[in-house]
Subunit: 97 residues, 2 copies
């Protein structure tokens, strides 16, 4: 009937779906841009970003722009592969409805 085992628990939450969707179609994206576009609190975004980093699905870049620190994120090859697999499984589930 319904194959949910191909769905990846790491991408269950809406926030993580949102983060991965943004990073899948963009190079390096600023923390502030992700926060604004998903309309999140710092605490909420930071906890999900840490989770995705632990899986190796996204990577961080910290640098100075002028005197200010700048933090941005990018999807990894592993992240791209895992997220595409998750999206395909979601599509299969939806198409069976």
């Amino acid at each position: 009937m319904s194959n949910i085992s191909a769905l990846n628990k790491a991408f269950e939450s809406r926030v993580r779906l949102g983060i991965m969707s943004i990073l899948l179609v963009n190079e390096w994206v600023d923390y502030k841009e992700i926060k604004a576009s998903l309309d999140l609190t710092d605490g909420n975004l930071a906890s999900h970003i840490t989770g995705l980093e632990k899986f190796g699905y996204i990577e961080v870049r910290k640098r100075f722009i002028g005197k200010k620190t700048n933090t941005s994120y990018q999807i990894t090859a592993l992240g791209k592969q895992a997220f595409n697999k998750h999206i395909n499984a979601l599509e299969k589930l939806i198409n069976n409805l």
Copy 2:
């Protein structure tokens, strides 16, 4: 960029996606059938079913078949509406990738 607010937190877990997908396309479905088709433990299935019942998205029917009790579930009109909205939002998110 990415609109996740239309996604429903009640359907965030794979198990709930699986339960709602099965109930969306079937009348009354036995507890045992849901459990087998999603390959779940009793504890895992029961907790998610309780959660979906609390939202009013599914309803339970308990009856005797011969001497044995039989428990089955059905999606409610509210559940159908909410789940279809969630699926549409997922499709929009996926199509923007």
